[in-house]
Symmetry: C2
Subunit: 568 residues, 2 copies
């Protein structure tokens, strides 16, 4: 490919409002162009990378028995009503009407379509397990599209669906897919990838893992152990709670005046937040109830844990209820139908706390759970805090890092097969609902994530397996007949040897050519110049290390073979 | 691939309401499943075929310098307002609102997106010509989805856009693409493909060709010559008008009573329709005018020609106008601002016609144009009739055949670059709007068209280049140890030799296996049976011809190489 004919432009200017490196470089190096908020066109170099990512994914999916299919983007309302998700999914799903005024949706995921495809053709247990997958455009009306290809409203995704007769079979296959995912990311050249237990959100299952590339631009918080391989999404992470030894003393009513927040009360009484119990209030709009979540004052409520516990969306509120003294709420039985109280496990056995006295303007000091109040049960609704001990190894300490979600896998159970009436005969002839797993990878996000991890101040550094071209062929002084002839020969030789070559045939300065090759991230640059040709040599530069190697023309292919091995 | 694990079912029952062979076989052989009107899921065998079609298209597009890109499915209203098509395209475009209440459209074609991609990055004439293409999901709200994958609302399409500095360059490239299209269809195994001049419809250009597979299920009427290579879409076809010799006689007013139609008048007067002049009435709702189209009584008005002539949509009507005597309309100057009269070229020099007398209940006989009335001009608004002489060779006769449109190419001129303000500097430094060509192929429709052309009463007959699997490996009596062992060996050998094998590992009758292999259309079947193995042989059957060949196991790969060459 001659760069003079390549559709795309490379620019030095950093586009305004761009915060992610991948966003900046993909724009500046002519890979992507924004069409509207969260929607991009891919230019030829980006499509070349994407095709390589797709190929890696296809190969790994085929290796674990996947069968590629294609579901539609456009689906009728009725299909989504069967699973109940037409109403349970909100405005992130694009909806429209066709010319006959039928309600349609655009596919953001394809559980319904996958069950629809197989439910009448798979009839017996011996046809299971199987896995079908597709690579296809997805549309999702993200409220906050951001960072170029990291979070968009239209994207190409690989999504896969597996069907099993029993949990054990799904568990086995789930681990196989997990390994395939790690293989995929490795082949794509990503290094800092971890899988974390996660919340399954709207997918409806219980077991779920997210694959995270650890990087500062990530929008997810991950909890990782500094000693063992424990990692989890903040939403579901657990750690060992630090406890505070304290002797019991008699309770004491204290007038705390206008001091209502933990911070103010601590300042007033000269105590630490971990010596307090705070009350955080929520509202359940569906069941129209209030929730008072009691938790140790130094901890935060994890709203995802709360939602999963209550099986309902929760909204944090400033409470206004005749039986509740806002700012001074303390542990007690409220005995009201519309009030639910929850006690976090951080309060179990806690002694000598300052708690609200349920009367204005008072707090109680030296309050001890189990002595002064015994809740029915304690529940885990707290966020992990950096520095807590790891629950898995018991000796490491957890830290919180940022990650980009580059894939996820879910165990769905029979949510879809049951609601959509898919049954197969088991080995006893009984009808059962198969259980499902589903497995997604956003390909555009992978492309951008690779750039986040593999780039420097000059631009992108593509891993050689996914580079749009492996070689940037860069003649200096193309007006020199010898350079022109040699470059053409080398180009031909390289292409015949199966290399993908971006040939910089422009009449611009060496500096411009080098800058473009670095910005675009091509792994190997070969410079052909009058000077190097005097020794019958070319100069090879590796994008990743900057290493320069002089190489005899006749030994070029041999040398490249070596280099590709090292870079791979 | 073991057929016991293949997702999909083969059935004998012909689904109700299915008229096209491709629709029937693709359903019955487990290739497709309908999700809703005009929307299908593709099962694994269909996707395998589709990937092969895509590969052929990619290779041929790359060969002629195409650069693959990807435009979005989801586009903002504003992009389509720039070209004016947001309002000019009707209900075939899907429209929706996003969560911020912005108007969006779903891509049915991507001229706007292609200009958007390149307009700020291509700045100079020496960056032209270039061609970008994509293979992607398109959505089009067809009023009449039909015949399985032949006419659908969601489909994968290759669409390409080329940009040129001048008409000559576009003309040259247009012919190159045309040849590439013929190469594509040939490689896909389609035989009866012609290109026909066509109307460019909403695309906005002047020169347009459609590629048609000639087949009875086709929904388009094509005019082809039985002597030369002339072929054209009915919409724009021309032919030499047959003329009728007749001596002039004096006009005569005839009371034709209630006989108003050509048929009734001909019956009454015992004359042929070609001895009459009829008036066909239309309404132009935009300019609010009536059109009276006079044409020889045996011919039909071609409404596409009429629309192109008047540059406005036309609607056939039963006319109700104070100055018009419906049923008795004849040639004259109406001298009304809201009446346009048109005279077809079939009337030029016509003599001795029966025409309406513009008075009830009268017709005029022996009416001669140029003697009794001289229109300002004659225009070509008639449909070609089977048997007319070919205008191209002058000696052949045209016939009308049915065809499926399997691709189209258009010269767009500067409609989009001008309305969307894309300019480049020409060699004199002047700013010009590049001119464009666009080139489409519907891939799903190609898949179905191949089946239409290549199938028999037993099922599909895939051309080997696009078959989902080349070989159907069909052991009989897998319980026989020798058969099982030999089949496994052969399977391994075939896969190592690069063949794609569908292995029928089921415990069903030979008849069922043969029927499935024929229905699915796999080109080569290899039967391994206890009997054939006695001679150390296998039986090869060619799907296309039914030919059976006994082949020594050791010579199988050599034999297959020969067969693939013949079948290819």
């Amino acid at each position: 490919m001659k760069i003079s004919k390549l559709v795309g432009e490379r620019t030095k200017e950093v586009p305004s409002g761009v915060i992610a490196k991948s966003h900046e470089y993909l724009l500046r190096a002519g890979y992507i162009k924004q069409v509207c908020n969260g929607v991009f066109s891919l230019l030829p170099p980006a499509l070349r990378v994407q095709k390589k990512l797709e190929k890696i994914i296809r190969e790994e999916m085929d290796k674990i028995g996947g069968q590629e299919v294609l579901f539609p983007v456009l689906m009728p309302k009725e299909l989504w009503e069967e699973s109940g998700r037409y109403s349970s999914i909100g405005s992130e799903m694009f909806r429209l009407k066709d010319r006959a005024d039928h309600d349609m949706v655009l596919g953001m995921t394809h559980e319904e379509a996958s069950v629809h495809m197989v439910r009448n053709i798979i009839k017996s247990y011996d046809q299971l397990p199987f896995m079908i997958y597709q690579i296809q455009t997805k549309l999702r009306d993200e409220p906050r599209a951001r960072a170029g290809l990291i979070r968009v409203r239209e994207f190409i995704m690989k999504d896969a669906y597996s069907f099993h007769t029993n949990k054990e079979d799904l568990d086995n296959y789930y681990e196989i897919v997990k390994q395939a995912y790690f293989n995929i990311y490795k082949r794509m050249g990503m290094k800092n990838v971890v899988s974390v237990k996660s919340d399954s959100g709207m997918m409806g299952g219980k077991i779920a893992d997210e694959f995270m590339l650890i990087t500062d631009i990530g929008e997810d918080s991950l909890v990782v152990c500094d000693n063992c391989d424990y990692s989890a999404n903040m939403e579901v992470a657990e750690a060992i709670l630090d406890t505070y030894e304290s002797k019991e003393e008699p309770t004491e009513l204290i007038n705390t005046g206008e001091n209502k927040t933990i911070e103010d009360v601590c300042n007033l009484l000269k105590i630490e937040p971990n010596q307090t119990c705070k009350a955080v209030c929520y509202y359940l709009s569906k069941s129209k109830k209030y929730v008072i979540a009691f938790i140790r004052g130094d901890l935060e409520v994890n709203e995802i844990k709360l939602r999963n516990l209550l099986k309902e969306e929760v909204v944090a509120i400033s409470i206004d209820h005749p039986k509740i003294v806002a700012g001074y709420i303390g542990p007690k039985d409220f005995n009201e139908e519309d009030i639910i109280t929850l006690y976090d496990i951080s309060l179990k056995g806690a002694k000598n706390l300052v708690v609200g006295a349920n009367a204005e303007p008072f707090h109680i000091a030296h309050f001890s759970f189990e002595r002064d109040y015994i809740p029915e049960t304690f529940v885990d609704i707290s966020k992990v805090k950096e520095g807590q001990k790891c629950k898995k190894c018991g000796c490491g300490h957890v830290k919180i890092v940022r990650g980009i979600e580059i894939g996820n896998i879910f165990q769905l159970g029979n949510k879809y097969t049951s609601s959509m009436h898919m049954t197969v005969h088991d080995s006893n002839g009984e009808e059962i609902n198969p259980i499902m797993g589903c497995y997604g990878i956003g390909i555009g996000r992978c492309l951008a994530s690779i750039v986040e991890e593999s780039s420097d101040e000059k631009g992108i550094i593509w891993p050689i397996a996914v580079a749009p071209w492996q070689i940037y062929l860069c003649p200096l002084r193309l007006d020199d007949e010898n350079v022109a002839k040699s470059t053409e020969e080398i180009n031909k030789l390289l292409e015949e040897s199966g290399y993908e070559v971006l040939f910089d045939d422009r009449n611009v300065s060496a500096g411009s050519k080098f800058a473009d090759s670095e910005l675009m991230g091509i792994p190997i640059r070969i410079v052909v110049s009058p000077r190097s040709l005097q020794n019958n040599e070319v100069e090879i530069t590796l994008r990743k290390t900057g290493e320069k190697i002089m190489c005899k023309k006749g030994e070029l292919i041999k040398k490249l073979e070596e280099l590709v091995k090292i870079l791979g």
